[in-house]
Subunit: 240 residues, 2 copies
């Protein structure tokens, strides 16, 4: 893990860019050390520099967490293939016009999840070597399929917050019942890109004894600010 830049923010949070082999990432750490770690992933296709993710990460770090994110293969600063770009465009278009997306989910997103899990585990190994990181690990992210797979295969993850779980490949829908860690499941009630019933079915399927659904009206990007605070309080209950 090689740090390539460092910036101290107003609230004492340090924001550092890093690379780990081919993987570019960002790490936010609070002044106080060592802090519990939150892996913050994004909806597939978006860069780690996306302003909403950065705002969530900075807020969470200011609340006493180390927060890390990475660009998934083919996203953000990483090289992308024409085939991947085409598949992403197909998926976006199908979601926008309300066409079935299950085939693209299976053929395109499925393998991406497998690869992303390996990269996040590599990143986790490296992060846990840092002296400023300690304690249990949480997941917080918009990529529900990745979060489910990570929660199943990665025993170091103690709690997870998921967002927008309407479209998840069959493999992850099926292994949802193997997830047993505490969950906070965030749903935008009128999210045009995430069918409500599928998200409710996924919430129902999780095997966790403690799982909480928070639903609010509005579309995909309309999550109210207080859910950010609620999300941190969920992490506080399980990681602090």
């Amino acid at each position: 893990m090689r740090f390539t830049s460092e910036q101290r923010l107003d609230d004492g949070v340090i924001e550092r860019e890093f690379t780990l082999g081919e993987i570019p990432g960002t790490l936010w750490t609070p002044g106080s050390a060592p802090a519990p770690l939150v892996l913050m992933a994004h909806n597939n296709g978006l860069p780690k520099a996306e302003p909403r993710l950065v705002a969530r990460a900075r807020y969470t770090a200011a609340r006493g967490y180390a927060v890390a994110t990475i660009d998934a293969a083919g996203c953000g600063d990483r090289p992308r293939s024409a085939a991947d770009e085409q598949a992403r465009a197909d998926l976006r278009r199908a979601m926008q016009v309300g066409e079935p997306v299950d085939e693209i989910l299976e053929s395109f997103i499925g393998p991406l999840v497998e690869n992303a899990v390996l990269e996040w585990q590599t990143t986790l190994d490296a992060l846990l070597e840092l002296p400023e990181i300690g304690g249990p690990v949480g997941y917080s992210g918009g990529w529900a399929a990745l979060g489910i797979r990570l929660a199943v295969v990665e025993p170091r993850i103690a709690a997870a917050g998921f967002f927008a779980g309407g479209y998840v490949p069959r493999a992850q829908r099926e292994e949802a019942r193997q997830v047993t860690i505490p969950l906070l499941f965030l749903l935008q009630w009128d999210d045009e890109g995430n069918p409500r019933q599928r998200a409710l079915d996924l919430f129902d399927a999780f095997g966790s004894k403690e799982k909480t659904l928070h639903a609010n009206p509005g579309g995909h990007t309309g999550t109210p600010w207080f859910e950010l605070e609620d999300g941190c309080r969920f992490l506080d209950r399980h990681l602090k």
Copy 2:
């Protein structure tokens, strides 16, 4: 309004029993005055002395709210008729064995809601005369039908928390879209006595721009403790 007993609790909260005409009630006030008021109603049929309600009321008062509850007609310390007792028993039995309850809801609960709204409004008038109460008014309660009707007819109520809204008479289901104040809607995902889909449909129907659904696994009385804290934070956002 006549106070008949007074008890000072450990955390500085004062708990007083009162009567207002035929209505017996309890008022909890925090040390600091004047405090915003929370009307805390119960599932129809239960007494105001029910331990879960008392625990919620004391917690909420310790968080800086004046909290009031009353016994509904035919409940708790109030005289009851054989016909009402029979109707309550029929309703409980039908819910336990999963029989349709709509007819009992309409014929029995419907008129009770009308009467309870008048009594709560009378109580509200009297409470707002007290110097230790000031600021906006909230509703928090398990009797969703009462809360809906109050939210529609009573402009002094600025925010409401509802619990277990599966069984609500048709009149209140229909006027749910007239409710426009901020709502927190609490659902027990496996509540044997409150059909999940009906509760989700009710949440969907509310006209409020700010409405949040919190769902947790388990039966009717299994609400996790952190929802009590979340409920107070919801009130904090709208009443303080």
